[in-house]
Symmetry: C2
Subunit: 456 residues, 2 copies
């Protein structure tokens, strides 16, 4: 760290009272895309407030970017086309990685750690897949790796789990943690539109990536869920353990029927801790329409956490976007600056639990995971069919909570049949569904979506 | 701090891997009522998890209570009937004040600070009224005073404002921050019950105090709002500046009419930062029924915060109760333990902004505060009355957004008239209301409730 006046770029106005005796915390930003430019500009615009909170100016001294971004005025800031020059710059205290991906970004962060720099990143893929290794390396070099922006954008959910709820045994959490997916489902529900149609709009609006697989197949949500689960339960990061189902199979019809039954369909990441281990799953889910989570619409995110002492708490806000995500990046920077100005980084473990106490709890196989189910099928509208289906469920010990048979459409002999079951393990439901699909009186596949009540 | 094995009360089982080389953080709890007993028991029940997160056992070594509480097993813990013995006990690192009030509690905390102890408290009245002095004293003795539990019970809203949103200029916040008041309004709305009736039930359920003034007159909410506003805007605590209006005047009729207009009535604490200074106000408020805040029911709390970078974020959960509030107390203890185990308390300013940068911004007088208004009056059902009233509003430059005239009840010549205005300063509305109340064609007082849209 250097005092601000020893540098030529201290152009930021600080409240006079706090500009004395303060050492600046010197930031290097790599990547000047959506989040990188947002971070650069938020640090500029709110410099006075940030310094007053951090008790030190937080200055961007070096930017690594393959090209300039017209949104950022880089006057007075060193710019390198080679991002690795930032990671090894002796004038940089904290490297902010905002390039994304798991290859170059990983190498960049490792280089920075080895050069003794603290790291802040928004890269959920990297943390979910290689966080264990990165945190171990950071511990070795006695630096911090912070990643508040990696989950749910600007919502300080990582801080809540790691610090705010630290007195609790976390029982479970459930989150809307992919804004694009939530936007698509909200639009489909509100306007009866088809998936592909809304996806195209989301892409045009810049919500979805050109390759939207990460969003709509649930991979992005799985990355985030893995991080939340580690923080909540004290288990190592384990991306490969997440069951992941996207929203491509959800139809306007299912959204409508769910509504008729008093539910909404949301794409949730769910992590639960129970006697048999940990459940880690991402899938479309029917939840009762009066829950707060059911009323989180558009690109917003929200995470519901059940703690043993506090009960349910919920955290809501913008899950993406340049400035909202920058808000989380800067929060990490202020944390670090507060520590650095005291000469010592605080001992908040990267995954909330100290490394030695992380436990590799068993992951519950999906066949054993119990939920209620929404099942939709096309069945012949004639006597005996319903009782045939009911028998299949009861043979598997699955009890039926509600059954709706819709009126046949003109000229149709088949009718949509919707079954809501009570809680049953997926394995039993798999068998029942297979038997139902083999019936002559049922056409095509059975649509199935899990149901969660999300009670405390 | 002492190593655990140098003490005789280390009865808590810790995961073996983390029990080596750790120094216990030694806690003294004063007050063993609802929150005190909750804190004692949460520290016991979750001791393993807490130690794994804090990287040190967090042990209660001394309890100060005038009498035992059957909910707590105090075996092996030193107990003093004189709570001041805890504040001066050299074996205590952190004093937890849970007796409440602003006299003895203040003296107790000052004694502890002077004895070099860190302090954790849930006492919003004390922080709101004497926080400035306490924080100054703590700074002098280089100890921390933490108070997450003082606002919104178990919801980590103080941490969110102080750390999670530290990159933002906070524009405004609005919160349901008194559970009793929200319970009463929820019950009145859902079941058309009268205020006094529901208040009696709240008292029977243990939600409201025997003297419910603090809850229903908005004083408790004002205490909390003052704390939130200081954290958000970097202003000193100033309890006397809050405009405070309770819920005693809200009728089932108003709740019903609000509903018809697409609104809910919530008792909100609102703090806004604008060109003319800061607004600080607690009052019943109509908010659009589709807002998340409108759907926070019963004893739950929620705070909506508008940040310049992140936009709107919302924090929801249990605002009171022994264990939920204990969750927040223990979060503060874990923060301190993490710092103490590193040998240094971190430099997170008590009010988020460092002391030198706190600014005494002007408080906007209520007459200048602009909101929309819900106004209800009993008017004669005859020609000319409406136009008379409309003229009064337009003379004050107040435009009317909606006007509902209800049908007269059998045998009545007067009808309820509900006016929704557009935004107007209270001063203008005061004049209009006074003129309306002077009309012969209007009976009694005009009921007035502010309307807020709570948009970003
Ligand atoms: N966008 C969001 O709302 C959001 C929210 C939360 C987290 N995140 C995470 O934040 C990170 C950044 O996302 P973003 O949306 O800001 O992405 P982006 O807009 O695509 O920006 C990425 C930037 O990194 C640069 N870059 C990529 N690979 C590089 C390489 N090998 N060498 C040098 N520069 C490279 C790109 O430069 P070029 O322009 O030259 O290609 C671009 O400036 C990702 O990890 C993402 O998952 C994003
Ligand atoms: N209850 C909640 O949900 C909640 C939520 C957030 C914050 N808080 C705050 O937490 C604090 C404690 O509230 P609480 O609900 O736990 O109150 P409580 O149940 O009334 O407990 C207060 C305890 O303090 C003791 N006490 C009071 N004055 C004392 C004195 N002068 N000397 C010694 N002991 C004294 C009482 O002892 P005796 O039994 O002998 O009188 C009692 O054990 C308050 O500041 C409150 O505002 C409470």
């Amino acid at each position: 760290m250097a005092t601000p006046d020893s540098r030529d770029h201290t152009i930021i106005q600080l409240p006079e009272a706090i500009s004395i005796n303060l050492q600046a915390v010197r930031i290097g930003i790599c990547g000047l895309g959506t989040v990188g430019s947002g971070t650069f500009n938020v640090l500029r615009e709110n410099a006075g407030e940030i310094a007053a909170r951090a008790q030190a100016p937080v200055l961007v001294v070096h930017v690594g970017a393959r090209r300039d971004n017209p949104a950022c005025d880089l006057t007075g800031v060193r710019v390198s086309r080679d991002i690795f020059a930032v990671a090894t710059d002796p004038e940089v205290d904290v490297l902010v990685e905002l390039i994304g991906g798991t290859t170059v970004a990983r190498e960049l962060i490792e280089t920075a750690i080895r050069a003794g720099k603290h790291v802040v990143t928004a890269n959920k893929a990297l943390i979910a897949e290689f966080g264990n290794e990165l945190f171990a390396l950071a511990a070795e070099y006695n630096v911090a790796v912070r990643y508040e922006a990696a989950v749910a954008g600007g919502i300080p959910i990582i801080k809540a789990l790691r610090e705010g709820l630290a007195g609790n045994r976390i029982e479970w959490l459930a989150g809307i943690i992919n804004g694009t997916g939530n936007f698509i489902l909200s639009e489909m529900r509100d306007h009866g539109r088809e998936f592909a149609d809304v996806l195209a709009e989301a892409q045009a609006l810049g919500y979805a990536e050109a390759d939207p697989t990460f969003d709509v197949e649930g991979i992005d949500a799985a990355h985030k869920l893995v991080i939340l689960a580690s923080l909540a339960f004290g288990i190592p990061l384990q991306f490969s353990s997440v069951y992941t189902e996207g929203i491509t199979g959800v139809t306007p019809q299912d959204l409508r029927y769910a509504e008729e039954l008093g539910y909404r369909i949301k794409h949730l990441g769910i992590a639960k801790q129970g006697d048999r281990g940990v459940e880690l799953r991402v899938h479309p889910t029917l939840i009762p329409a009066d829950r707060l989570l059911a009323n989180v619409n558009g690109v917003k995110n929200a995470v519901l956490v059940e703690g043993s002492a506090v009960g349910s708490t919920l955290y809501y806000g913008a899950g993406a976007g340049g400035k909202p995500t920058a808000s989380a990046v800067v929060a990490d920077l202020v944390d670090l600056a507060r520590d650095l100005s005291a000469g010592q980084i605080s001992r908040v473990p990267s995954l909330s639990f100290c490394h030695e106490s992380l436990q590799d709890l068993p992951i519950v196989p999906m066949a054993e995971v119990e939920t209620s189910w929404y099942l939709r099928m096309e069945a012949d509208d004639r006597p005996g069919v319903l009782s045939r289906i009911a028998t299949i469920f009861s043979d598997q010990g699955i009890s039926i909570e509600a059954l709706i048979q819709k009126a046949p459409q003109a000229g149709q002999t088949r009718v949509p049949l919707i079954v809501l079951t009570n809680r049953a393990p997926q394995g039993k439901v798999d068998i029942a569904v297979q038997q139902i699909e083999e019936l002559d009186s049922v056409a095509g596949r059975v649509t199935r979506i899990r149901v969660e009540v999300l009670d405390g």
